[in-house]
Structures are given as structure tokens and as C-alpha cells.
Symmetry: C2
Subunit: 236 residues, 2 copies
DNA sequence: CGGAAAATTGAATTTATTCAAATCCTGTGG
DNA sequence: CCACAGGATTTGAATAAATTCAATTTTCCG
């Protein structure tokens, strides 16, 4: 909730500053806002679930969300964390499939949502939205390709280091010393993001804590020396 | 080259039947075709390389291509195989970044390409192209998310089984007994697709060969009992 | 204060990698 | 036509990384 920028208010539009609507003209933004709905999110609740028919397009306004995919055998993977300004649930909508993952709120928050029909109407009316969507989805594809390569080729320690750095860098802020990851996150969550077990994550983080690289508590993490983590991640 | 459908010729348009232009009107297809260039591909050559500035959008007409990403340490990962009708090099173009991977021809083939400017012109002129692109990119994101989960949670044997089935199913054909993977592929390639080593792949495939599930040769594979592989992949 | 979820940690085990040789193809040049 | 060079594949043995199993401890909330 530290995440929400005041600039959004100053600008007069909650939706300016979002990746998908950010560059729209004033009047378009008005229109988009007018046909949106608000949906408060309670920490731990899910906005939609894997397998549900995709009927809404969403932008997170406040709080944090994790996208979780569960395998037929019941094993979970955290695909991605979403912060304010980011869209989600979009691909399923455009591709007319079911949601491929579950959106779980990690803090209390607020989402803006549009029905499928409304979203399609907006897309027809303001073609820039389509171009933006293509860029966003393309960017996510590229990021996931890199993470796929990392998961394929790198050991756990590196992957955990990368994951922590990525989480800390979330809204594009440079990661300084003593940067805190500003939403609650467990060892299990980190394990599900890095493709390992909570035990291994715990061991790795304990070691780092001993070396002074991080400080950790229950559901909390501070990167004390992110630069050292970068060195682990990138092997300089 | 067995891959190219005669129907494409009958229809009169090489580009009908492609995922990105398939649903365009006759005249639009003509236009798109007119402003395209052809580029023959020699097996083993690369159409573009990771890190090159993205200046072309491509559709494969004949042959096969693999998209390879290489890590700073030199380890390779095969992100995806591409068959006739599929586009590639698109995201980098729309996002104005460098190519995030290298496109290597696995057989002789033929690609249609468009320059960035031409592609942008077409995109403005025929908005359906944008919608198609969004669907294609979205679909690839979803597929990669599933593969990411599999890589995270499943053991090597399963992942190899899945990979072989996916390769055999390529252009959407149902996989019958004795389906051959119709392009040259090494143990190393399979390892780079599944996130393991060629040694482990070799062991797994040798065992399957002993059980009569597959027949294999140098750079060649036949799935003799794909159903049994599915059982390994999905644990029925 | 009590209970439950989160985290830590040791020991045993497993899976897959790494290291190290052989062996098998296949296309090429003599 | 055949030998051969080099890539592809196979396979064994040793090793390493991470998981699994099994407690125990810590922390937070009510």
C-alpha cells in the first residue's frame, strides 16, 4: 500500500500510470474509468480461480496479487507477483479461454475490473489499448522466457537470489541497501517461485542471514546488501 | 517439408493458413503478400541472433526452426520449435527491443519477412492483425507458463515424455502409434528443451526403447506407443 | 497463555549431474 | 567401394545437489 503513487491522484486519473491505459487521452481515460467497476480485495482472497471461465479484465490499483498455477497433482507454482498499475486476467479474455491461474491477494487491495463485453468495446474504440496490451503481454513472454532459461540452467541459490532481487525491484525502483520486500511473503512462496522446496529456501536464506546479506522475519524480508545478492545471481 | 499443406496453394494464398494472417480478407492477404520478402533458409543457419536489433517480423512457410536462448555463461535452452504457418520474431518488433533469442533453421526452409516499418504499416491498416497477434502471443505465454510449472515440479522422465509428445503433435495432428518426429533432433536438443543433460535424456530414451515405447536413431525418433508416453507424462 | 502457522535444522535418501570411456553412425574423400 | 574422421549416442561409476523425512523452535494472533 506504500505502492500506490500519489502522482496518480494529482494527475486526476486513477488509471493514468497503469501499464495498459497510461498513455490514453484524457477523455478516453474518463470513458474507461466510467465503465469500470471497483472491487476491494481482502488479503488471502482470490479474485478469480484457475479454470474459471474468463469474464473479466483487471487492473490492480492498490495492494499486491500473486498469480498461482496448480498442477493436476496439486503442486503449486507462483508465476508472478503483480503490483499497482499492472493488468492481469487479460490473456484469457482476449484468447477466450479459461483463466490459466488463480489470482490471490497478498495484501488488502483494490482492483478495477471490466467485463469481457466492455473490454472488447473499449478495445475497438481505442486501438492504442490493443497496442499496449501487445507490448505488455510480449514483455511478460520475454521475461518468462528468461526465467525459464534460469530455471533450466541455474542452481537454487542463484535462482533464489534473482527472485529476491526481482521482488524488491517490483515497481521499477532501484534497489538500494536495506530494501524491504513490501508485502508478506513466506519461504514457501519463494520456493514456489524458484522451483524448489521451502526447506532449501530456508537453508539458503539462513546462510545469507549469517553473512549479513539479508535480514528476515516471519513473512518478511529485507535485502541488506542487494549488491552482494546480484553477485551471487550473476557470478561476477 | 512434409509440413506444408497443399491447401495453402489451392486457396491461392501462401499466407492463408498462417496463424497471424489466416483470417484476413482476400485483398488484405494480397497486400500483405505483395510487401513481403522471401528468405530461403539453409539447415543450421540462423535468421537472426539473440541481441540483434529487431528489424524484421517473420512467418515460417516451409521447414522448421528452433528458438534458442543462450545464458551469459554459455548454456543453451531451446525455447520453442516453430513449424510452417507460425510467426516468430514478432514480440521484439512490437516491443522495440533486441531479439531475445536466436532463430536456427533445423531443416532447409523458407520464411516470409517484413521490415519493421512495413509491419507497422500493415498493423495500422488491418487491425485484425493486431488482434491475431495478441491471441498468438497470449497463447504462447500460457503455454510457457504451463511448461514453467512442469519444469518446476516434475521429474525428468515426465518432462521428456511431454516434450516428445509436444514435438510430435506439432501442427495439431493427432499423434497416432508410430508417429515420427519429422525434423532432425538430437539428445542434446531434447535436453535443452527439458532442462536436463543429454546423458540423462539418453538413459531415459534407451529405457523406453527397451520397453518398445519409442524407436530411435541418430537425430531421429519415432513414437511407437504415444499413449504409453502420455501415461508417463500424466500418471494415469 | 495457548494454539497454529512459519521457520529452522539434522540426517538419510534420491535424483540427476559430472566425469570418463566406448561405441555407433554417416557422409566424405581417396 | 572403403576407410576414417567427427559428431551422436550409450553406458558405467563417482559425485553432488537438492529433496524427503523428522523433529524442534520461533513467532504471531487471539
Amino acid at each position: 500500500m506504500r505502492w500506490i503513487g500519489k502522482d496518480r491522484q494529482i494527475n486526476g486519473h486513477i488509471l493514468s500510470g497503469t501499464e495498459i491505459f497510461g498513455n490514453l487521452a484524457e477523455e478516453a481515460l474518463d470513458h474507461v474509468t466510467r465503465v469500470s467497476h471497483r472491487r476491494p480485495l481482502a488479503a488471502g482472497s482470490s479474485l478469480f480461480r484457475q479454470g474459471d471461465p474468463a469474464d473479466a479484465f483487471c487492473v490492480l490499483l492498490e495492494g499486491g496479487i500473486k498469480m498461482v498455477q496448480i498442477s493436476p497433482e496439486g503442486q503449486q507454482v507462483v508465476l508472478r507477483y503483480i503490483g499497482p498499475g499492472e493488468m492481469f486476467g487479460a490473456v484469457a479474455l482476449f484468447c477466450r479461454t479459461d483463466y490459466p491461474a488463480t489470482a490471490v491477494a497478498v495484501t488488502d487491495g483494490l482492483a478495477a475490473i471490466w467485463s469481457r463485453d466492455t473490454a472488447e468495446m473499449l478495445l475497438r474504440r481505442y486501438p492504442e489499448i490493443g497496442a499496449n496490451a501487445l507490448q505488455v503481454v510480449g514483455g511478460r513472454l520475454q521475461e518468462l522466457q528468461s526465467r525459464y532459461r534460469e530455471l533450466s540452467t541455474e542452481n537454487v541459490e542463484r535462482r533464489v537470489a534473482r527472485t529476491l532481487l526481482r521482488l524488491a525491484a517490483r515497481p521499477g525502483r532501484p534497489v538500494a541497501d536495506d530494501t524491504r520486500i513490501d508485502f508478506p511473503i513466506s519461504r514457501q512462496d519463494i520456493a514456489e517461485m524458484t522451483g524448489t522446496t521451502l526447506h532449501t529456501v530456508s537453508r539458503v536464506i539462513s546462510r545469507w542471514e549469517g553473512l549479513g546479506l539479508v535480514a528476515s522475519g516471519r513473512m518478511a524480508l529485507v535485502l541488506r546488501r542487494p549488491q552482494a545478492l546480484s553477485r551471487i545471481a550473476d557470478d561476477l
